[in-house]
């Protein structure tokens, strides 16, 4: 599968063939961004809240070891099993180990981007375990055998017609029926049966409180609760950066999360899990998977402050017009583009370049990650590590030579403009990507420097 991965620019070209759909995708996400603006602008202390959240996470990143130890100690005292996974493979093995111990072959899972990052569904299905995603959007993309295209809105790339067709094929709904009420009802019945018969439920974690050993899961559908409360075994998987020091800090993050994500004041459910109920087994799997490496990269460690709200995707003019799948990574968009090179620099070398560096992402980020500056810095790292193409290296070398030598620049400019005026087809052709959909500037006879010498310099 990985050998077929299209670079971001190529995948975007394919996505952009359907112009109307691109317009729809852009407007849909812009609508979410606008809702976020309204919510954020209604809180007088919004910018203070962002700085506070950023500082709290700064403290967490600087004291990661101590908070992890504290969290484990408190979770164990609460009767929770705590597991540590160095990478995706170990995470998947741990989860499968718990499932196998209970002799179960079917389970429910609510939204967890970490398990997407670790490709848990694939691993479990290869080991004979059927996973049903219970978040509606996740379930839709799972039925279509697609990854989520957005961390908060997994099926945002699909129109209701697409969902109608998917449900018709997989859940036997009426062909051509795209009524959201009807389709949601169908999904509800299908999932209700599943919830009642599954013994194991897996959830993600939004915040893990070191002080108390509890964790908080935020959903709008209540599916995490439904799964966890009905199952005998609850497995919660978290990247270690989900930690916050104390319970009182939740007030800061819960106010920011949903407003940034969808413009809601708070998610419908903010469920606190602290200890297993009588007869239940509760597990927490704490995952590294490259996070320690990122923590050690001074320029990029702030990316671990991310609370996965997706605001940077909704505001990103590139994401809105290229779709989440063009980023070929579990986390798409600007934040994905600064996280992914840490996981696999060769495979993700294109992502930091999939941006105009407009900076809107950094401005909406509720924990003030300097996303666009990190994109710039990743570009430097990727080129230095040797992942630039030969043609790009040659082009940049030639440009550097010209721009470092005033005489060559002046003559080169003059010659170039002469060619553009007199033999325009040297640039106005199919080999010039600018010219495909844009006219070239009309070259003047005189550069500004020449004008200055003729008119000003006496």
């Amino acid at each position: 599968m990985e050998s077929k991965v299209l670079e971001h620019s190529k995948a975007s070209e394919v996505f952009n063939k359907d112009k109307e759909r691109v317009g729809w995708h852009d407007e849909t996400l812009w609508f979410v961004r606008s809702k976020r603006d309204k919510a954020a602008h209604n809180i007088p202390d919004w910018e203070l809240l962002r700085s506070t959240a950023s500082s709290i996470k700064h403290n967490v990143l600087s004291n990661m070891h101590d908070y992890l130890v504290e969290f484990e100690k408190n979770a164990l005292a609460n009767g929770v099993h705590v597991h540590w996974a160095a990478d995706a493979e170990e995470h998947n093995k741990i989860v499968h180990g718990i499932i196998a111990k209970h002799g179960v072959t079917r389970m429910v899972k609510s939204k967890s981007m970490l398990t997407e990052e670790c490709h848990l569904n694939d691993y479990l299905s290869k080991n004979g375990v059927e996973v049903i995603d219970t978040d509606l959007g996740e379930r839709i993309v799972q039925l279509r055998d697609e990854p989520p295209s957005h961390i908060v809105l997994p099926a945002i790339h699909l129109k209701k017609e697409d969902v109608g067709e998917t449900f018709h094929i997989h859940l036997g709904t009426e062909k051509g029926n795209k009524d959201p009420q009807y389709l949601t009802e169908a999904a509800r019945h299908h999932l209700r049966e599943t919830f009642l018969t599954r013994k194991i439920a897996l959830t993600g974690v939004n915040f893990a409180v070191a002080q108390t050993g509890e964790f908080v899961v935020c959903t709008n559908e209540g599916n995490a609760d439904m799964g966890a409360h009905l199952a005998d075994v609850h497995i919660a998987c978290m990247g270690f950066e989900k930690l916050i020091p104390r319970r009182e800090h939740l007030g800061v993050f819960l106010r920011l999360l949903a407003r940034s994500a969808t413009g809601q004041p708070i998610t419908t459910y903010s469920s606190h899990f602290k200890k297993p109920r009588e007869g239940q087994e509760m597990h927490i799997v704490i995952v590294d998977n490259g996070r320690s490496t990122q923590l050690a990269r001074e320029d990029f460690r702030n990316s671990l402050k991310c609370i996965r709200c997706g605001a940077c995707m909704n505001t990103c003019p590139v994401y809105r017009r290229s779709g989440g799948h063009s980023y070929h990574n579990a986390v798409a968009g600007p934040i994905g583009s600064i996280l992914a090179p840490n996981l696999d620099m060769r495979k993700n070398a294109d992502l930091p370049f999939a941006s105009t560096l407009c900076g809107s992402c950094s401005n909406v980020c509720p924990v003030k990650i300097d996303i666009h500056d990190q994109l710039y810095k990743w570009r430097q790292v990727i080129v230095k590590e040797g992942y630039a193409t030969t043609s790009k290296k040659l082009g940049m070398g030639a440009m550097t030579f010209t721009l470092s030598n005033p005489a060559i620049y002046q003559t080169g400019g003059k010659v170039g403009r002469w060619f553009m005026r007199n033999v325009p087809f040297v640039v106005n052709n199919g080999l010039n990507p600018w010219f495909k959909n844009r006219e070239m500037p009309e070259p003047p006879k005189e550069s500004f420097r020449e004008w200055y010498l003729n008119n000003k310099k006496s």
């Binding site: 620019s9 003019p317 721009l403 990507p433």
Partner: protein, 246 residues
């Protein structure tokens, strides 16, 4: 006040009239303006492509050309931001640091240093302002729509002084146009689509001109407008501010 005029390479080569307008405008406002003849480029095209390590030559040239001026003024937010953030030279770091502090984008120089409150300009047209990202979010030339903070806009403050100019308000007032330096060719499909969407926002408001502080963005939008045979034209803000001031 000795001002060094910093003209971006693509403006020098393709849009000399912007250099002329900037020079004339600054002179009318009482500055002693010099154009150092051996300037080339700030180095941003290489740096944004991941080749900042190749910009040493450009940095040295920049210091050679611009040391000693009271101010350095440039009709581009993007090139100004690059110098402010990335101009370094190991052996002349102090000089580099002085230049980084003295370099100004044209509109912020007019509002913050010259404190221009009355322009004698006249431009009887319906105009849309394209707020380029590096100027806005990098140099903070205008408030950003993402933030919960009071409105201000240095370019608008100046355009409001231009007689008979009808400034429209856009539905997305600070969305990127998709130029993005080498992005405009390496991510051609997205770049063009972003540009087309920006153009449409202005066309929906029936503008005659799209103006802005960065000709690079405007060059991209102009390429799209001309391909679509649109009657809408682009014009750099220096040309508007300098119109009929003579």
């Amino acid at each position: 006040m000795r001002v060094g005029l910093f003209i971006p390479c693509y403006v020098d080569q393709f849009y000399p009239q912007i250099g002329v307008a900037t020079l004339e405008l600054l002179e009318k406002l009482g500055c002693e303006v010099h154009f150092p003849l051996n300037q080339t480029c700030c180095g941003q095209p290489m740096a944004n492509s991941g080749f900042e390590h190749l910009t040493g030559g450009c940095n040295s040239l920049f210091i050679d050309n611009f040391e000693g001026f009271d101010y350095i003024v440039c009709p581009s937010g993007s090139c100004t931001l690059h110098i402010k953030e990335h101009l370094h030279e190991e052996k002349r770091e102090e000089k580099a640091s002085t230049i980084r502090k003295r370099v100004y984008e044209l509109t912020e120089f007019l509002t913050d240093v010259l404190k221009v409150e009355n322009l004698e300009a006249n431009f009887p047209h319906r105009v849309g302002l394209h707020q380029s990202c590096h100027g806005q979010r990098g140099l903070k030339l205008a408030q950003m729509s993402e933030l919960n903070a009071p409105f201000f806009s240095k370019p608008e403050q100046l355009l409001k002084q231009v007689k008979q100019l009808d400034l429209v308000s856009l539905s997305r007032k600070d969305e990127c146009c998709g130029f993005g330096g080498t992005f405009c060719v390496t991510e051609e499909a997205i770049s063009v689509r972003m540009g087309q969407d920006r153009v449409k926002d202005h066309e929906d408001k029936n503008v005659e001109f799209i103006t802005g502080g960065d000709m690079s963005c405007l060059m991209h939008l102009e390429g799209i407008l001309r391909r679509q045979q649109s009657p809408v034209k682009v014009i750099h803000i220096a040309e508007i501010l300098n119109s009929q001031i003579k």
